[in-house]
């Protein structure tokens, strides 16, 4: 009787999760496996795919442009995430303190996150312009530079320029995630720490950080995945140029697919970063499971 009840419970459980498993299989599983297969073909738009083994992967791994772009991708996402975390933390701590006009400031901080990526990118592109952009004009006016800086076409500065934009756009996500975490910390913990003689820095490292560590980890991991795959920001501002100096994997994938019309190779570029993303996802889900 007991066994029969358990069996029916089990059946009900499976029946309940089956729809979502089917949806995941259809929406994620099939396209993912198919994309991996197509990365092993010579697929171009409008033509049939022919299996060519690992030729696409061999080609990209022997291409110096691929490695340059991969390096840019790491520089882009690590720098972005680190700065977004630092600034997000500083601003969250500040906005967690009571002061006049705090609500207005909080709303203003949300603006970079809320506005359309296209609008943000084009506005920054305009500000970076070397002939009529505001940055060069200001620097020229105060005499810091003699000739305009090529923010978007200088080989050494183009990547920095797009990193700044991504940091600007991403800070609110960290800020409000951390702010949410800060507001859940029991004030008594700080009072107890004060009684034990802890100063503000000690309180920060011994109370604040441990209390919101899971928020920090999840926010950082999510932002890492998004930043790793960021396309819009770079494509609209520099197009990945000059000569791939600001290109990341997503932009290179686009170029291979649409300018070279080489879908198979393009999917192999995208597929080559799956292991990296899997590691990030593993860390994140492990942390979530631990917290549960």
């Amino acid at each position: 009787m007991l066994q029969s009840n358990r069996r029916s419970e089990l059946a009900l459980g499976y029946a309940s999760v089956m729809p979502i498993i089917i949806v995941i299989f259809v929406v994620i599983g099939i396209p993912f496996v198919s994309a991996l297969y197509l990365s092993l073909t010579d697929k171009t738009v409008g033509a049939d795919a022919h299996f060519i083994g690992f030729a696409n992967y061999k080609e990209i791994f022997s291409d110096p442009i691929y490695w340059k772009v991969l390096k840019n991708t790491f520089v882009y996402f690590i720098t972005d995430v680190v700065f977004k975390l630092i600034f997000g933390m500083i601003f969250a701590l500040t906005l967690n303190q009571p002061f006049f006009g705090r609500s207005v400031v909080r709303v203003l901080f949300l603006v970079p996150w809320a506005i359309s990526g296209l609008v943000a990118a084009l506005t920054w592109k305009w500000m970076y312009n070397d002939t009529y952009g505001i940055f060069n004009q200001l620097l020229l006016d105060i005499g810091l530079i003699q000739t305009p800086i090529a923010w978007l076409s200088g080989p050494n500065i183009a990547l920095v320029s797009v990193i700044i934009v991504n940091i600007w756009r991403g800070i609110p996500f960290f800020l409000f995630s951390i702010l949410g975490g800060l507001q859940t910390i029991d004030r008594q913990l700080y009072e107890a720490a004060k009684i034990d003689g802890a100063g503000p820095i000690r309180q920060f490292f011994s109370v604040t950080i441990p209390s919101i560590s899971s928020v920090i980890v999840i926010t950082t991991m999510l932002s890492s995945i998004w930043t790793f795959n960021d396309f819009e920001n770079i494509f609209l501002i520099t197009g990945g140029g000059p000569l791939y100096n600001s290109a990341v994997i997503s932009v290179y994938t686009y170029e291979t697919a649409f300018l070279q019309n080489n879908m198979g190779k393009s999917l192999s570029v995208a597929g080559s970063i799956i292991p990296i993303l899997l590691v990030l996802m593993y860390i994140m889900t492990r942390k979530l499971a631990k917290d549960d």
Partner: protein, 454 residues
Amino acid sequence: MFKKALSLPVIAALTLAAAGCSSGGGSTANAPASGSAGSTTSAPAASTDAGKAGASGAAAAKTKLVFWDKSEYVKEYNELQKERVAQFSKEFNVDVEYVAIPPADLKTKLLAAIEAGNPPDLLLADDFVAKQFVGNKQLVEISDILKKYDFREDSKKYAYALEGWYEIPVYHNPNVMYVRKDKLEEKKLDPPKTWDDIKKVAQAINDPKNNFYGLGFQLGGGGDSEGRISDLIRTYGTDLVDKDGKVTVNTPEALEAIKMDASFFTEKLVPASAVTGDDSWNNTAYLAGTVGIVFNSSSIYAAMRNDKPDLLQKTLILPWPAGPKRQFGSGGGTVFVMFSKGKNLDNAKKYIDYFFNKDFYGKLIEKLNGLAVPVLNGYENTEFWQRPENKGWFEASKNIVPLGDPGPPDARASQVVSENVLSKAVQSIVVNKVDPQKALDAIEQGYKKVYEKK
């Protein structure tokens, strides 16, 4: 079934990229049919028969037409086209989905639509975009339509590809050189006629301290920078490919030509952002008054006429310069194509008929202020094209050299432009200080990759 499943990720990826990568996307104007279908009262003469056909079928179910157009710098063009589409929709009881797409986004959206098996029924695009689709039987053969109208002989070069006749010429789009006349007068210089003159003029009028540069040339890829470098190489005496499609670019003359192009950038005769500037960059730079010489279609002329008459007064419009060996006219054509997988090809053909109505076509072309020159005979001697300010544009359209000339007219010429082979090579000299001979070798390699692909 398996093939269908395989195409899913590509469609999804292409669709997402097309949506996400759009810089603003195209404007969509649905022109729904009215209830009084088939009315021919205002139908133009040439369309009367077709209009009657529409009327007789008024009781039939409303059909559809998906028409993708390029969004033009001259906004009157899309407005007129939209009006025409609305009239067509009303007269023929056809639900028309008219989408104007920025040229930079057109290829991406087309690739996504083709892979999804859902291309537009009718596309109006630049010849070099359309020619990429002549392979793999993707387009409808149009020689019957070509016979129907009195096309100028020089416009048929857009229609022809090695694979057959697939493009219907719509208008010529001549390219010219814009030069700041006031700057020449200031320095007492003659208008430039050769590439050497251009460099000398640019050096003389260059004034970066006051935010003014001699040249508005860019290297960010696209038709403008590829066209300039290609023209420079050819006027120095080297064809990039021969008539059989054999790559012939690696010569001492071509080496001198790309050194010349790189020198415009290394000698800082252009603003720094020119290295990554796209096709709209030179328009903006010239209209902002920050550069002295640019090559462009009449879009700059039209913009000056409408918004900057003072700048137009200070501008000379000249033919493209000569090199040490030759001189070429530049420009391109705009064409209609129909995709064989289109679901409403009959309506697409009807619309082409409706579009080429003599009155409408003439009016549309005139509205474009020289951006478009007619591809049909019978317009050259009209009052509009005889005006001094328009005559030059008509003349320029006669000398347009087709893309990939003298190589075979096929998709490969478009593909090398799309891959920005020339711009990247010159960029490598300017940005990475690559030896010009190595950059030329890279051009040869890039061209061979496309032209020798089996």
